[in-house]
Symmetry: C2
Subunit: 325 residues, 2 copies
Amino acid sequence: MKAGILGYGNLGRGVEAAIARAEDIELVAVYTRRDPASLTIATGTAEVKSASALEGGKEDIDVLIICGGSATDLPEMTPKYAQWYNVVDSFDTHANIPIHFGSVDAAAQKGGRVGLISCGWDPGMFSLNRLYATAILPGGHDYTFWGKGVSQGHSDAIRRIDGVEDARQYTIPVEAAVERVRNGENPEFTTREKHTRECFVVAKDGADKAGIEEEIKTMPNYFADYDTTVHFITAEEMKRDHSGLPHGGSVIYSGETGANGNRHVIEYSLKLDSNPEFTGAVLTAYARAIVRLNKEGVTGGKTVFDIAPAYLSPLSGDELRAHYL
Amino acid sequence: MKAGILGYGNLGRGVEAAIARAEDIELVAVYTRRDPASLTIATGTAEVKSASALEGGKEDIDVLIICGGSATDLPEMTPKYAQWYNVVDSFDTHANIPIHFGSVDAAAQKGGRVGLISCGWDPGMFSLNRLYATAILPGGHDYTFWGKGVSQGHSDAIRRIDGVEDARQYTIPVEAAVERVRNGENPEFTTREKHTRECFVVAKDGADKAGIEEEIKTMPNYFADYDTTVHFITAEEMKRDHSGLPHGGSVIYSGETGANGNRHVIEYSLKLDSNPEFTGAVLTAYARAIVRLNKEGVTGGKTVFDIAPAYLSPLSGDELRAHYL
């Protein structure tokens, strides 16, 4: 199975790392909108090519894993390339999923390809667990907690503040809230009750630290609705203690059965050392699945909901039934 | 969608309770090998019929949910009825799954039906989580812990001991072992290190309690390899404190990505007030799925690995993408 990666940021490198561990997938090329000569990739056997090489569907790849941003890249890229290639993306702007799905579906149908959107862990594995749980226990309550982990959007928001040189923001679930949900209490939470935000900031020389802290804590949407703590640290401490991109979280669903309301709690949780590498690993497994489905004649837009789990694994049905059932 | 249930023990009643909460499924009949007149069921609108009514495929049902035992009932029943009806079972003798699958597949192919085997939570939801995890993070380690919950097989084994009137056995995971796995240590455990067994026993008048305790603790396969505690209680205490059938457990998978071995831990856990009602709810969701698949022309033997999650839910693809992705 031959794969290409479009885009070589954190996620692109995460996909590359996952393909390196997949015995049945070969990375053929990384495609970039930058000058290919400016890029050095980890896979010695793969080429670096201009994204323009993908035009017209001439590249000899079974699947293209598109590693762009949800705001502007993916709404344009995924439908464009779905007419020529089987594609997977990690589109995560929840409100725009129906529109994005529609345009990818139309392009993939037209081209006889499969376009799978919104893959990763949320959306992705967390979505699957919300769906499985509600299908088994209809009428229950689902809760999603994120963290402890680095939110890149929130870190970027802090970096845009005057006087800030670097910043890292951790989203942290409130343990007492998680416990209440685990106990099947079905509580209603305010935003503040579910998560806290912890910020590590490197200030520029002579910057107004009190002003920066105030600006962070009152920032609408990002921080104002949360209990936020701000720590000023040195650039060396930032590099030493906060260079990773850990993340995780949990989906907890509680529902009932029977006339007497027997209660059941289903919990799915992730503890990830590297958010982009885990996300890349999920995208790679689904890339395998859609290549196999397309070979069977399946076409059109898909999400993780539409993929039977067996397609994700390189093992045969016999092997899966014997060892994993 | 019209459903039938074959067998009206704990699991059959659990399926009935799940169908009562499924707006798109109607329970048409409970089929029994006993005298139908001897059975009173909870669903006023459903009939009780002899299992012989199912012969030849004459019953007007879309799916038959077979609630029999794995030792002798299901190996005979599931292939037999798969030639006439879409069927779901909860076959859980792991070593015999390949043979059982083969015979159900052949019968279902011949009859143009779908036969889904080994559904429930283990095998079932736990199997799915083992598969998803290993497909995403190949080469990792998976651990399954069961409990705290009632093991009916172990309870029955105690009841067969001379002088025992009633018994209930709880399987309990060793919390320290669970923690080591959660920390990604990939430990190797002996049987004794993973689970303990706690037994509540009502002894007959004048029975030799010390002898009973010794016989339990040294019973091969069931107890000899575990740290086992035995409590003698009264029949009233048994009824008051141990009449439920709670269960649960967790599948924990730890694997790596990247050249530096970033570690990721995936955990799926269940805390169930009623084992048979939750299992019945899983069987009911999969019954919905195979009816829909069969209408699309799919036939043959299936397991949970072969079913795309969207088929489990009565919601449309648009609704699922908008609200669960």
